[in-house]
């Protein structure tokens, strides 16, 4: 009798540990947000990827439809080659375009994919040609200053 209640407590203890691990994997880790089910690989070339990292989300209309698998550099075109693992549940037209977006002002960068109008869908190994690079804050500021300076010059005349 005494032994049995003790087993119950040990079982509870181990169960608590498993629950804690489950919590860490599901709630803290990225296991739940994207299942590593069937994916197809597509590539996209960007002039500048900014702070994009592997494992960053690929979103369409705000929904995660894939993840960045790999980032490499092509020294022929001097562009960044980003390999995307797209969930096979979601199909996109061949002429879809991708751009690098930022969640919030200083948040994580992710890839936004907007569907095109082609009747054929993207297949594994395809390359997405229409890409838009990350917005680099310094470029933006210098452009802004430049145009301001140009405006100022016009006004004073």
């Amino acid at each position: 009798m005494q032994k049995k209640s003790l087993d119950l407590w040990v079982g509870t203890f181990v169960l608590l540990g498993i629950l804690a691990l489950f919590f860490l994997a599901m709630k803290a880790g990225n296991l739940a947000s994207f299942n590593y089910g069937k994916v197809y690989e597509v590539q996209a070339k960007f002039d500048n990827i900014g702070g994009l990292k592997p494992q960053a989300a690929v979103k369409s209309a705000g929904v995660v439809v894939g993840r960045v698998a790999d980032i490499s550099f092509d020294d022929k075109t001097f562009q960044a080659v980003v390999t995307l693992n797209m969930d096979t549940r979601y199909q996109f037209p061949k002429d879809s375009s991708v751009k690098i977006l930022t969640s919030g002002l200083l948040g994580e960068q992710y890839i936004g994919i907007s569907p095109g109008g082609d009747t054929h869908n993207l297949a594994a190994g395809d390359k997405i040609t229409m890409t838009q690079s990350a917005v680099v804050l310094e470029d933006l500021i210098s452009q802004f200053l430049y145009s301001k300076a140009a405006d100022g010059g016009k006004d004073s005349k």
Partner: protein
Amino acid sequence: MIVQAISSLGQSVREWIENLGYAARTLFAMLGTSLGLLRRPRLVTDQIHFIGNYSLVIIGVSGLFVGFVLGLQGYYTLNKYGSEQALGLLVALSLTRELGPVVTALLFAGRAGTSLTAEIGLMKAGEQLSAMEMMAVNPLQRVIAPRFWAGVIAMPVLAAIFSAVGILGGYIVGVKMIGVDEGAFWSQMQGGVDIWKDVANGVLKSVVFGFAVTFIALFQGYEAQPTPEGVSRATTRTVVIASLTVLWLDFMLTALMFN
């Protein structure tokens, strides 16, 4: 005078190495007898109850408070860069990678390790271990091995509970009290915490720590001087050696896993 100093230094080094060899021999002898435990798993579950369940309260409460403090301190630092939203990520990474296993191991050495040393030491002082040998019962198998495996099993469980409770603590302070956006707290955490690189490495660390702390505690008890003073010294040594070993192992493991 100098010769004496050198010779005593040499003697202490020699004793230290001898002890290390004796510890390794004990470890292998104990591991060798461990298969017999499969026939009597009750011995291990009894000890898991003693080591694990009774440590739950201290681990849970410490985890909660460490989480609270991480929430406050992390917010203070991140706020300077205007990126409070990464608070969840900071709390989760610090806990799963580092604080969970290490703080749990230190508390474990203090809470469970000392009680193991004192228990075995008193058994030895009361000649219970010798009595067992007289009855052809191997004390390594009957007394040491179940406690060892119970410690190795209980430690990762406790560390996982510590990390999970700590994240909840960070959530309570960060989201409920300070008002960090709840969605950002969890999504940044999920975006940045990797199952294998962060969570699994933390679990691996805690298994290694459990192995080290439990064995040090048992060994100190096993070779304690069979006097009240000897047991008290062995208990102190358990805490000192186990804590230092944990911190040293932590550095080694982190350096190995860091890439």
